[in-house]
């Protein structure tokens, strides 16, 4: 297995943070804790961890159903052995879509590569669309080295997913029921 670091995962989905500093931005911006930095290119879009508005809630990283994400990134110090993962926050759960780990025997500080986005989709339990928070974690010798979060938007149409269809249908039914309640028939004498 190639020795890659947090960078690999964090950069792959654009949640890498600014190096050496604890970055904080406006609400909904990318946040990173720890000395990691990176970039990612998905389609025609280029994301940088040092720009808080990239992959923020107002400007999420768009994840198409197919294609690849090209990433590059680095850590400040060597982490070995290391492991980590990326997780999509769905309600109260965090669903891991990508994980990594190695002894990092070559003591790499940086890595770059390409990931197939379909593999990330396949990790999710059902067709998924909409806006989600993405969290990433990287561990150095068992201890958390850096973590981060950002926002992603699955480009799939909501009307093509079970959850999206349920949402629209439920809204219609509940709306009709509310209108029905407004007609005001007698329920108690």
């Amino acid at each position: 297995m190639r020795a890659s670091i947090a960078v690999r995962a964090l950069a792959a989905l654009g949640v890498t943070g600014s190096a050496l500093v604890l970055s904080s931005g406006p609400a909904g911006a990318v946040t990173v804790n720890g000395p990691c930095a990176g970039t990612a290119t998905i389609g025609k879009h280029y994301y940088q961890s040092t720009i808080p508005s990239d992959a923020s809630r107002g400007n999420p990283m768009v994840i198409p159903q197919t294609g690849t994400a090209t990433y590059q990134g680095a850590t400040k110090t060597v982490t070995k052995p290391h492991h980590g993962h990326l997780a999509v926050v769905v309600g109260p759960a965090e669903i891991t879509v990508y994980s990594w780990g190695s002894k990092n025997e070559n003591s790499k500080l940086a890595d770059q590569g390409t990931q197939n986005l379909k593999k990330a989709y396949d990790k999710l339990p059902f067709g998924i669309a909409g806006l989600y928070e993405l969290k990433g974690y990287h561990y150095n010798n068992g201890a958390l080295y850096c973590s981060g979060s950002g926002w992603i938007k699955f480009a799939q149409s909501p009307l093509s997913t079970p959850l999206g269809i349920a949402g629209v249908a439920g809204t219609a039914v509940a709306g009709l029921a509310l209108i029905g309640a407004g007609f005001g028939r007698k329920v108690l004498a």
Binding site: E133, A174, L178, G180, A181, G184, R185, K186
Partner: protein, 68 residues
Amino acid sequence: MRGRPILGAIAGLFLGAFVALDLQQFAVRPLDNLSVIGLPALGLVLGIAVGMLHPFRPGRAPTKAPPP
């Protein structure tokens, strides 16, 4: 008592929850605390109000004013 406040409350609660889900699915707003709790709560209040005030009931024919 007239109206359907309980139906209104249930319908409003679910309407708020489904609207929160729609907003998330259409990438307008994530499922954060405000949308998951706030919208259903708002729907609940709206539903009770609609059920009690029954604004959609057929109106009565206006009565003529008494002759002077």
